[in-house]
């Protein structure tokens, strides 16, 4: 067995046909790194039929569990073809290892296969469809619970957790001022510019004020603010609560008699409830400033004229129609974010999925509710 003498020795396998028994001699390092070559060699092994076979490991330099597994696999294959096989392990430690591996050999049926294949996919689709209903029920349940606790908290304000409330007002509210203002300012500019170029064709430049004011105050200001807040804070709520869920912090809270809804969900919801209207108002103002600037630069509508026309033509109810929606959006964003966080289970990946879900679902619901309000207000003639 020259192969076994080289160093580092690759695994080797050779058969000697003796007078009354065949000996398959293994050599080299019988370890996982060389397993592929050895497996091929073992598969090709065709010992002389009708004789008992010895699998001799005495020349093996190192044996690991993968190597022992291979030897046992070979033994099983040869035995299945009718031969009587014995293993000569060489030393007691190896004998013990082979013994251990033999005991651990999995039975085919009991083994874990992967979760894959067409059936698994189909099962997934089915579960998804059924899941939609469950999701809706679960969300409504969570919404109801949160609103109940929130009302209870507002009626007895001393029970609210002020530190958490102020923290989230800061995080979700004040810290969002710059981005919301900047975005609305830019949207105002875009509206002013697009409006101006269309209205100029009719010589109706001055109506750009109505266009900007009404579209911003009624719809765009609060809608865009909500989308930004859903992206910023809805995701943060889901991710932070989800991480707490994974590290069993939520379970710990329950065992300590702290209710996670009171401790985590109510302060976040209330914080958004207070801050989203403020953010919406800032967005409206920034948008008007942007639009006014554009009207001045592009159409020569002076700031004074802009403000005058704003007062004359745009009723305060436009602002009210926009702001009325803010609390609804706030509750939707906060509740969806917290609820998705609570649904996180097990894996770190689930945190990511739920966070994405929280944002997508919150934005979707915000737009649906906005559409419903639009229809409602136009039916009411407001």
């Amino acid at each position: 067995m020259a192969a076994t003498l080289t160093s580092p020795a690759p695994p080797a396998l050779a058969v000697e046909d003796g007078p009354d028994r065949a000996v398959a001699r293994f050599g080299g390092r019988l370890v996982v790194a060389g397993l592929v070559a050895l497996e091929a060699a073992a598969a090709d092994l065709r010992p002389p039929a009708g004789k008992p076979i010895t699998l001799d490991l005495s020349e093996v330099e190192a044996l690991d569990t993968a190597g022992a597994w291979l030897v046992l696999q070979l033994k099983a294959r040869l035995e299945a073809s009718g031969a009587s096989v014995e293993i000569a392990p060489g030393d007691p430690a190896r004998a013990a290892l082979i013994e251990t591996v033999a005991r651990a050999l999995p039975d085919a049926e009991e083994d874990a296969g992967g979760r894959r294949g067409f059936v698994a996919w189909l099962e997934g689709v089915g579960a998804g469809v059924v899941g939609v209903k469950d999701t809706a029920v679960s969300l409504l349940g969570f919404l109801g619970l949160t609103l109940a606790r929130l009302t209870a908290g507002i009626l007895r304000p001393w029970t609210l957790r002020k530190a958490a409330l102020f923290h989230h007002m800061q995080e979700a509210g004040f810290n969002a001022f710059p981005i919301v203002a900047l975005m609305s300012f830019l949207i105002g500019i875009v509206l002013g510019f697009q409006g101006a170029s269309q209205l100029q064709q009719f010589g109706a430049e001055v109506f750009v004020v109505n266009l900007i004011a009404i579209s911003l105050l009624r719809e765009l200001g609060i809608l865009l603010t909500s989308i930004i807040v859903a992206g910023r804070s809805g995701s943060a709520f889901a991710a932070s609560i989800g991480s707490m869920k994974i590290r069993e912090e939520i379970d710990a809270m329950r065992t300590l008699g702290l209710d996670p809804i009171d401790v985590l969900v109510v302060p976040r919801t209330l914080a958004l409830l207070i801050m989203l209207p403020v953010l919406g108002f800032i967005s409206n103002m920034a948008g008007l400033i942007g639009g006014g600037l554009m009207a001045w630069v592009d159409l020569g509508v002076s700031p004074g004229m802009f403000v005058t026309r704003l007062y004359e033509t745009t009723g305060v109810w436009h602002l009210i129609v926009g702001m009325v929606k803010a609390p609804f959006f706030a509750v939707v964003i906060a509740v969806v974010g917290c609820w998705q966080g609570m649904l996180v289970g097990g894996s770190a990946e689930s945190v990511g999925q739920r966070t994405t879900q929280a944002v997508v679902m919150a934005i979707f619901l915000v737009i649906v509710i906005d559409a419903v309000f639009s229809i409602f207000f136009s039916e009411m003639g407001v």
């Binding site: 370890v31 996982v32 790194a33 397993l35 592929v36 497996e39 190192a62 044996l63 690991d64 569990t65 993968a66 597994w69 430690a93 190896r94 013990a96 290892l97 251990t100 591996v101 005991r103 651990a104 050999l105 999995p106 039975d107 009991e110 083994d111 874990a112 296969g113 992967g114 979760r115 994974i246 289970g345 097990g346 894996s347 770190a348 990946e349 689930s350």
Partner: protein
Amino acid sequence: MDGSPDALHAAPAAEREAVIKVRGLVNQFGPQVVHENLDLDVYRGEVLGIVGGSGTGKSVLLRTIVGLNRPRAGKIEVFGQDVLSISDKERREVEKRWGVLFQDGALFSSLTVLENIEAPMREHLKLSPALMRALGNLKVRLVGLPGFAGSKYPSELSGGMRKRAGLARALALEPEIVFLDEPTAGLDPIGAAAFDDLIKQLQESLGLTVFMVTHDLDSLHAICDRIAVLAEKKVLVTGSMKDMLSVDHPWVHEYFHGPRARAAQGQD
């Protein structure tokens, strides 16, 4: 190692090859010094048990050796290579040759147990998927998990089962050194004994070197060739179980002569 009962170190050092050599290690978190001039040798083929009170820096020492924590000062050699200064590529070669079981398992939560075990194989070995699956299933059973556990996600397992799955992953590449952080904590006594046997068998037949942080006095008795006591920010003393019994440092004495230690010795 000035001032410590140093005589106990001497015996095996001369003949045996040190696979891990730590010299003058300093670890510090802010003002808190965890290790100060810590020296430690781990010899090829031995099971070294690390003991010490909670917070004495056993886990930090383990993390520092495997490169998860950069020390303030000191030198760490593994397989004769200075792991603090080698290139990333050489480092990866070294990493293939050790396996780590973390104190809390640290399984990838989005993979099943079987996929967790296959992950390092997939990365470092060129094996067919069927072969990987077969070896993965073997590892699952080897560490004493039932076969069905392979398809479960870590969050669906008990704490002890997660630990075993973590060991299965640590053994996936058939490493030369395994680092175990409290491997038998959270296992039932029968499971813990079986776990000890497994480690011992692997060590004997593979020449595996085991660096084991443990508080399990039964493990220390049953499988540790040498014990290193961490106290006073360094390795206070190393030696066999017998040596430990004659050390007169108060903590060491309390540890190896307390009621639990006596119970463990009684079983021998």
